[in-house]
């Protein structure tokens, strides 16, 4: 019997070939592979500049159409001069002090938009717009990965399930920040007010955007965790994108809105990212304090990332 064991052992060793496999040390920390997964997603994007360019067309068109064509600042100052004409026609005796007194009762562009022109107001909103849209697409990539079997391949490795989700979330955050930066750079020559901009202010605004995208990317990824069908994913995106955008202060100040919509604006994270951006970039008086903006956004980002990680443990394996 012992002889048999010896011969077995010899055979195994002789057969084990050039390398003794299965004995190497590997990195088993929970974070391993996270960067590889993030980088894979980013490569798909920065190696195809056409995609980057196309994703910028929409926000730039919005900037042009809304910001320039529907210039609310013009409408407001225009209405002010027509009020003067009307008042003068009604009462030729009216003094310019009286006109000023009446005018001051009317809402000014500054008081409503927090800045002297609508274009700057909207430009900050567009930063939120472009990050929101990028975040929405984070769910699509996991649907494709599942369809092509790539997700199964990743799931069969010891990489942590949370990293699979967070790799996509982080790549989405980095991507949307890069796009927001480009939108900002385009908005300045188009006439965005740069009088209040500081390096710290810009950095702060991007932190706010990062927190917002983190939360939204995690949310949209969660919705896609079990999905194998990109059409339903598209439907979800279309269902949510415009209500989220219009139900925030990104395009219009919430004071324009009916009270039920104002309530929604108050819970919409886009409002707080945009608000923080306006305070930091344009020096606007905010609709919430800057501290509250960041507190709300941090809570949103942390909560949805955690839920995303926990759901990935449960839902990625069937």
């Amino acid at each position: 019997m012992s002889e048999d064991n010896v011969s077995q052992a010899t055979r195994t060793q002789a057969g084990a070939g050039p390398t003794a496999w299965g004995s190497e040390r590997t990195d088993r920390s929970p974070m391993h592979g996270l960067w590889a997964l993030t980088n894979r997603e980013l490569q798909k994007w920065y190696k195809v500049p056409v995609l980057l360019f196309m994703s910028l067309i929409q926000p730039v068109i919005w900037l042009g159409l809304f910001g320039k064509a529907m210039n609310f600042g013009q409408i407001f100052s225009g209405s002010l001069s027509s009020i003067t004409t009307v008042l003068k026609t009604l009462d030729p005796q009216i003094t310019s002090q009286q006109i000023a007194a009446i005018s001051s009762q009317l809402p000014s562009v500054q008081s409503i938009f927090g800045t002297s022109d609508y274009f700057s107001f909207l430009a900050v909103g567009m930063l939120s717009f472009v990050t929101l849209f990028t975040a929405m697409f984070s769910g699509m990539s996991i649907v494709w990965d599942r369809r092509f079997g790539f997700l199964d391949k990743v799931l069969s490795t010891p990489v942590s399930r949370g990293s699979i989700v967070m790799g996509k979330v982080f790549s989405s955050v980095l991507r949307s920040l890069a796009q927001a930066a480009i939108v900002l750079v385009i908005a300045v020559p188009l006439g965005m007010d740069v009088g209040h901009m500081t390096i710290m202010g810009i950095a702060g605004a991007f932190v706010a955007l990062a927190l917002m995208t983190l939360g939204f990317s995690a949310l949209f990824l969660m919705l896609a965790l079990r999905s194998t069908d990109w059409q339903s994913q598209m439907a979800i995106m279309n269902l949510l994108n415009l209500p989220l955008l219009f139900g925030s202060n990104a395009l219009f100040p919430s004071s324009f809105m009916p009270s039920w919509l104002q309530d929604f604006v108050k819970i919409n994270p886009i409002s707080y990212a945009t608000d923080a951006g306006r305070q930091l970039l344009l020096g606007s008086t905010g609709f919430a304090s800057l501290q509250f903006d960041f507190l709300y956004l941090s809570a949103f980002a942390v909560a949805f990332s955690l839920i995303g990680i926990v759901m990935s443990w449960r839902l990625l394996t069937k």
Partner: protein
């Protein structure tokens, strides 16, 4: 050290029920020994891929247990993942990355340090004969090259056990032969255990040490190819006898090793072990009775016959399904392009 003569996989009563009613895998029990090539044969929908997915932690079993590479599937899924390699049925490599990029990426997921994985990737590309295409994007690869790249990716963590799901599906004969050579090499040179599913019966016959035939989620037969073929009752002798009115069945049954005789008019179909030896004896016996043997044929059972016997289906039916599957795959490929 791994146990010398232990089992690489121990499956006990493993069951997977989908949506509460579809029993894809229905209480299977088997062992795969160390350094063995174990083949899983069965028609589409028999539960082959479901079994692989459970053993590689992609699916949670509904009930039952399995120990893979010494780790329990339920309690240590991550240790199982770290110790096995997988070559999936689909082409899962990232088309936008290069061949070597894909392998190193897999290495990252297994936590293999970059310094090690880069060197190892080159060795693996050499092993599967893709060194020349290492820096080309996978988009430009042919089907055979993609399959070989999948094999290389599955080996980046130097697993003791490799799962291959239909490793030769849709490949031409030449590439298929090459893939089987790598598979044999992995066992012989690296001492690996291989668990695979396949449709190609004659190849499974030549490559696998042991084969399990699975149908409707149950293992219907398990054994070495020789055992499986022997289980059919051995060789078959067909012979024709001229002008015989007498039933020769009792006579033939007296011959050693003959198990079963069927008479169809003047033809006889005889099941026997050691057909080559039994045939001359039978001929002599018939001649001694004054009859004349007009023709004789000895056939050895093939895996095809084994498959037919245990699944009730010919491999042709499976081929038809495969055509359907290939169509689907083409659609997916077009979607990707």
């Amino acid at each position: 050290m791994m146990p010398q003569n232990g089992s690489s996989i121990e499956v006990r009563d493993l069951t997977k029920v989908f949506n509460g009613k579809l029993r894809a895998v229905d209480g299977i029990t088997f062992d795969v020994k160390e350094r063995e090539i174990f083949g899983f044969l069965g028609p589409n929908g028999a539960g082959k891929t479901t079994t692989i997915n459970m053993l590689t932690t992609l699916l949670r079993p509904t009930s039952g247990s399995a120990v893979v590479c010494g780790y329990d599937l339920h309690s240590h899924p991550n240790d199982v993942r770290a110790s096995v390699g997988i070559v999936p049925q689909e082409y899962t490599s990232d088309e936008d990355m290069t061949g070597i990029g894909n392998i190193v990426f897999c290495g990252d997921l297994y936590g293999v340090p970059r310094s090690v994985s880069k060197e190892r990737a080159l060795e693996l590309l050499d092993l599967v004969g893709l060194s020349d295409a290492a820096n080309r994007k996978v988009q430009t690869y042919s089907g055979g090259m993609r399959r070989r790249l999948e094999v290389a990716c599955g080996l980046i963590n130097h697993p003791r056990l490799l799962f291959l799901d239909e490793p030769t599906l849709g490949l031409d004969v030449q590439t298929r032969t090459a893939v089987w050579q790598y598979i044999k090499k992995l066992k012989e040179d690296y001492g690996m255990t291989l668990f695979m599913t396949t449709h190609y019966l004659e190849e499974a016959d030549g490559v696998c040490d042991r084969i399990a035939i699975i149908d409707h989620g149950k293992i219907v037969k398990i054994g070495t190819p020789v055992e499986l073929k022997a289980s059919l009752g051995g060789d078959i002798i067909e012979l024709g006898v001229k002008e015989s009115t007498e039933d020769l069945t009792p006579l033939i049954q007296q011959v050693a090793n003959v198990r079963e005789v069927k008479r169809m008019n003047s033809d006889y179909r005889i099941k026997t072990a050691l057909g080559e030896e039994a045939a001359p004896v039978i001929i002599d016996m018939i001649r001694s009775k004054g009859y004349h043997v007009t023709r004789i044929m000895v056939t050895k059972p093939t895996m095809d016959q084994v498959y037919l016997e245990y699944t009730g289906r010919s491999i042709r039916d499976v081929e038809a399904d495969r055509a359907e599957m290939m169509k689907q795959r083409m659609t997916v490929r077009r979607a990707r392009a």
